[in-house]
Symmetry: C2
DNA sequence: TTGACATACCTAGCGCTGCTATGCATACTG
DNA sequence: CAGTATGCATAGCAGCGCTAGGTATGTCAA
């Protein structure tokens, strides 16, 4: 399943912050974690993730530090800041507000089987 | 509550299509409907909505027609097309995929009280 | 040694999006 | 006649992910 650009943009920041709220991590690992968490549905590219991390660092929502693993690879670890946690909470409220609105609309339409168009007229056309 | 730009971008198309799936409508009425559905939390501007409607028309997800109300005002009514319904179903699946991922992450973090920072270290730093 | 592959990070340029500001027009109300 | 609500439209700006490219190193097998 591919996720469109706007939805990716809207979810990337809260997902990254939520992952870092679980514990410090680094770019490559975050990519794998997202894939794992979504059951493979979300497949981010590194070219999309790194700018997100840099922006979060610029906004002081995360802090970065370099480390070297036992294998000898250098990794840039990120840690969420208090400001980042507050921002995550705000993002969460916003998401849930929009989600509630969408659920309200979807509740109205019983089912959308998703391959073929729904029956043409559920409501009277009456302008 | 203000909703950030990316989240607005991600939700505008499915919300508009879902509203039109309930029945034909026009710009000004859609703005009021969104405000009502969200309990006032979502406050779209017309300068944001009209380009969305024009894009949907260009993509043939909706069809437009001019009408004149009893009061004498001209209105541009939009109707969702079969293609639009299929697209709405796809948007819905995508939204729910991302929502499930976020819920999984939020489930992990018990509570984010949202005004003040969470306790500094929930996990060992080990790395 | 060589090659392939996974790991690990970074960035320039493009197109698309909403936002702000602005404009136009009409019906209703005082 | 002025103010407000209704109703549609667009130009210019900033911000975003995406594509495509780059650099570098560890592991493993041929």
């Amino acid at each position: 399943m591919e996720i469109n650009k706007e939805l990716t943009a809207a979810s990337s920041t809260p997902i990254v912050l939520a992952i870092l709220a679980e514990g410090d991590s680094y770019g490559y690992a975050i990519l794998q974690r997202v894939r794992e968490l979504s059951g493979g549905s979300l497949q981010w590219t590194d070219g999309m993730l790194y700018p997100v991390l840099h922006r979060l660092e610029r906004l002081e929502h995360v802090e970065a530090r370099w480390e070297v693993s036992e294998s000898g690879r250098r990794r840039k670890y990120y840690r969420i800041t208090p400001r980042g946690r507050a921002h995550l909470a705000e993002e969460r409220r916003q998401w849930q507000t929009v989600d509630a609105t969408l659920r309200g609309l979807w509740r109205a339409s019983p089912r959308v089987p998703a391959g073929h168009p729904a029956p043409a007229a559920l409501l009277p056309e009456g302008a």
